[in-house]
Subunit: 224 residues, 2 copies
DNA sequence: GGCTTTATATGACTCGCATCATACACACAG
DNA sequence: CTGTGTGTATGATGCGAGTCATATAAAGCC
């Protein structure tokens, strides 16, 4: 299982230690939509994304969901709760065909005891996520939907955007966007349509291309 | 400076070490409304609440604020950013007459290097806050204002409520409540008035007493 | 190929809540 | 005691965005 050193915090471990981890870790190939674990389940493992993309999702009433985290390749997920032995607080749903790793929680706990740098890396990572959660709280509490959508598109372009002939391409559905910014599909589609017509974005099925990034930044700042 | 052992994660340190910390730590007495540090400032210190209450606040346009964290006695604040040497992401505002401690960031960094248990305690704490941030995100994204308010009152009763002849008393203004759940003062006041009339709460200036906790729980769950 | 499913699109209607305005009670300072 | 500020209260009004309905096009599937 090559590539464990690419995981956040695992780079500084010795090769022998990484071998041992690899031996205990299971590689799982998953298709879009697949649920790796559900909210409320006992956490027996720490997970990581090798390739692809995983969403941490909380299901609400009336079929409305909230995307709590977007987990890109190289990041752990379900880690903190597994270390503390608590049940998973949200569900992990595969957003595109992915390869994920599943490592026994007991091993992860042992590693954290033995390698302070690993725990430090996890702390750093969790802190960053707390910070971004705070920003999302501000965004949803203070800003209008179009501001939030513009902001989210810009965030996604940094996180999962692929450059393609001058524009940034995002692999994401309107439904997912809606669940990220706390609104409905219809509203997201309406705004996207409008922006498509005014040339801010170019959109297709499962895809949005950011054309006028500065225009989106203006909207995100509330200047439009 | 007595009481350092009451701080989250500092209990397991030896007495001599705590002496050293106390010697470098400054005790600050602050009145309600006082700003301990502002968003964007360089973080040169790790803070802790000895007595009283501190809010972490993000200021938005149009005078609307968001309360990101409510820091009760015994909790650190500004810790994670100070450890990483980043500027404070939000402002710390004293919510009621308080005594806070201010410890040099360099010392805090050294302590984290030396005492893995301290770092572990901070990780645990940050994880809890991330989890509660996620719950707030769901709440604000999916629920109506009255649900959010009921939920927030129940959360506050656990966190800062004082038992008083059968009811739980909260020291909080409508403005603060509004900033916690992402709405306006007027809306918060309206709902509080209604609930006061229907006997769910009993309210006064700077104060709300939870009378019918089960009724509030029903509202929080969306059953009303 | 034709059928079902999924994602996008758009209109009509409703309503929760923000906004603006005004009023009142109480705390505190001088 | 009297002014001034701060927190609470309540009404009128308007808009943003949710809800419901329907349509269309592309993707997948036998």
């Amino acid at each position: 299982m090559a590539g464990i050193e690419s995981l956040r915090g695992f780079r500084t471990l010795e090769a022998a230690e990484r071998e041992r981890i690899a031996a205990a870790t299971r590689e799982v190939r998953a298709t879009a939509g697949q649920v790796l674990f559900s909210a409320g389940q006992d956490s027996d493992a720490v997970w990581a994304v090798k390739e692809g993309l995983v969403h941490m999702i909380k299901h609400g009433p009336g079929g409305r969901d909230v995307v709590l985290e977007i987990v890109p390749p190289g990041d752990l997920f379900g880690a903190v709760v597994a270390l503390n032995g608590r049940p998973y607080p949200a569900s992990a749903v595969v957003a595109e065909p992915s390869v994920v790793w599943k490592m026994p929680a007991t091993l992860a706990r042992e590693l954290c005891q033995k390698h302070p740098t690993l725990r430090a890396a996890i702390l750093e990572h969790v802190s960053t996520r707390l910070h971004s959660a705070h920003e999302r709280l501000c965004s949803i509490a203070l800003e209008h939907v179009d501001q939030r959508l513009a902001r989210q598109l810009l965030v996604l372009s940094e996180k999962i955007g692929r450059r393609e002939n001058g524009t940034t391409l995002l692999h994401v559905t309107r439904q997912e966007l809606a669940d990220m910014i706390g609104t409905t599909v219809e509203t997201t589609i309406r705004i996207a349509s409008r922006w498509q017509q005014s040339g801010l974005i170019r959109s297709a099925r499962n895809e949005i291309a950011l054309v006028d990034v500065e225009g989106l930044e203006r909207i995100a700042k509330g200047e439009a």
